[in-house]
Amino acid sequence: MSPQRRAYVLLAIIAAALIVLPFVSGSYVLSVATLILFFAFTGQAWNVMMGFAGQLSLGHSLYVGLGAYVAAGLFFHYGIGPWAGVWLAIAVCVAAGAAIGFLAFRFGISGVYFALLTIAFAEFTRIGFDHIDWLGGPAGLFIKVEQRDSWDLLNLRGTPVMFYFVMLALTAGAFAFCSWLLRSRAGYYWQAIRENEDAAQALGINTFRWKMLAVVISAAMTGVSGVFFAFYYNNLFPEQIFHISRSIEIILGPIIGGLGTLFGPILGAVVLTVLADGITELMALAGIEIPGVKQVFYGVCLLVVIMFLPHGIWPTIARRLGLKER
């Protein structure tokens, strides 16, 4: 079989397994699976900017938070459902991403400086939201929780299974979209910029424009994940959603899985979430209740992966399976 064929077979197997999963698993596994898909989707979004175009953002929590707050605010105050709210959320995230991208790229800010600028914007917004009383401020914004047996897809209120399928559809959509992006003109331009921006510019690529496109697409996708977050968890705190630790959480998956690859963000999300939950379970079994043990173990695992698998897990597995490394 050609690598292409093998990839499709692999995808079909994964898709079938994911569709069957909610019918055979308990609620715990389902919640873990939803979380994995959430991180896979958000990681895929971040990967467009860093993995494809080489622009390191350490402030993606900004877009998660903006998307979440816009949709939740509309629902909370005006009863506008998420399917309408998501467009405004996307618009706000695109505007924020465009503003940051425009300012940064116009002034030739790149590398470490760009990364720190993204942190600065996210932190600035976090503290700013602490002072917006209309959205609850530091006390948080709560959407009414309704435990319904039916699927109210229109208002995104329903059973965990519904949320699982919504997230699965989003993740599948993002996968298809990114795989198309990577083979499009933009994808090739981005990779050229990522590898050598000066050379790309010398070839006549308008690097400013294409970098902007990467930021905007990534911000829009991340905003969508924020909308999901708001309706899944029903509560939002600036302290949590905009925090830098959330940004780091988002980017760990793609980096561990394999930067710039399509399967990487998904695999990374699986590995990290299962690892984190596995450690929690293990701790509970062993009866250890010291705060911090879990995170220390997590940090050590991270350290080991980054030291010994610099390109992530996916390229290694892909070689074994006879697939292309992307």
Binding site: L103, V112, F124, I127, H131, Q295, L303, M307
Partner: protein, 289 residues
């Protein structure tokens, strides 16, 4: 608002800012030479603060005396960290280095959490509440001592880089990595030395800071961000810039806390950071690259 209140707040901010500056100086030195952004910087600061708390409780020695052993231990720790962990990452891409240090930071914060728990700890000395007045302005004794210590340490660092042969060699590495290799400098050793020196700066800053504020594990990420803000405002890699940035942030935080709201004070710093990054990305005292 009475003018002497404002003056008092400005002075307190300035003195704290010098300690911030010393902390950021460590980050700046490391970035300037090794070209690695130390994402575990604030975490190292909190470790130093806890070290001071523990040694003070165990030995009953004055925290000002404890600075010496803590700084020495941190120098060794920094040397080992760079030589063992970071040196192999020098040729790796930025995001790889970043992740390495994030992992180190996660381990540090949570180890502190495991050992000390989430409660705030502090050091209680008998001169902690003393102050003296010059005219209408009141000076906290510990703040003045801390600031003086920060200035002295910075001066020692400047002297080390300007006057000693090793300092010169480190500057050569920073200016031209390849050139330094060509003339036969042991770059890896010098990098490790630099990280050690940076860590020692943080150790001194942390030992002073614990006299001014209570320490909790979550302060680590906060100080990391604060150190970033300061060095970017002052100029990444510029030593006087770090001190200037520290003072600016210290004073602006104090003023924002007085005039706006204490919770908005870091928003002020990040706003300043954004402005500097946009209009003078090399920082106030940085060199254009």
């Amino acid at each position: 608002m009475p003018i002497d209140l404002v003056a008092n707040v400005v002075i307190a901010g300035l003195l704290t800012g010098l300690v911030y500056g010393l902390m950021a100086l460590g980050l700046s030195v490391i970035f300037g030479v090794v070209r690695v952004v130390n994402f575990a910087h604030g975490e190292m600061m909190t470790i130093a603060m806890y070290a001071s708390v523990v040694l003070f409780a165990a030995l009953g020695l004055d925290p000002l005396l404890l600075v010496v052993p803590i700084a020495a231990a941190f120098f060794a720790f920094g040397y080992v960290l760079q030589a063992g962990l970071i040196n192999p990452f020098i040729t790796r891409p930025e995001h790889s280095q970043f992740l390495l240090l994030v992992a180190v930071a996660i381990i540090m914060v949570n180890t502190l959490l495991m050992v000390f728990g989430p409660d705030a700890r502090n050091v209680q000395t008998d001169y902690q509440l003393e102050s003296f007045a010059i005219g209408p302005i009141l000076f906290d004794k510990v703040r003045v001592i801390s600031a003086a210590m920060a200035v002295a340490t910075s001066a020692a660092l400047f002297a080390f880089f300007k006057l000693t042969l090793t300092g010169k060699a480190i500057r050569a590495c920073a200016d031209n990595h390849l050139g330094a290799l060509v003339v036969g400098l042991n770059v890896k050793h010098l990098y490790a030395l630099t990280f050690g020196v940076g860590a020692a700066c943080v150790a001194v800053a942390g030992s002073m800071m614990v006299l001014l504020v209570d320490v909790t594990p979550v302060l680590g990420p906060y100080y990391t961000l604060l150190a970033f803000v300061i060095v970017i405002v002052g100029g990444l890699g510029s030593m006087p810039g770090a001190l200037l940035g520290g003072v600016l942030i210290g004073v602006s935080e104090a003023l924002a806390g007085l005039f706006i709201a204490p919770s908005a004070k870091s928003m002020f710093s990040f706003g300043l950071l954004i402005l500097v990054l946009l209009f003078r990305p090399e920082g106030l005292l940085g060199k254009k690259s």
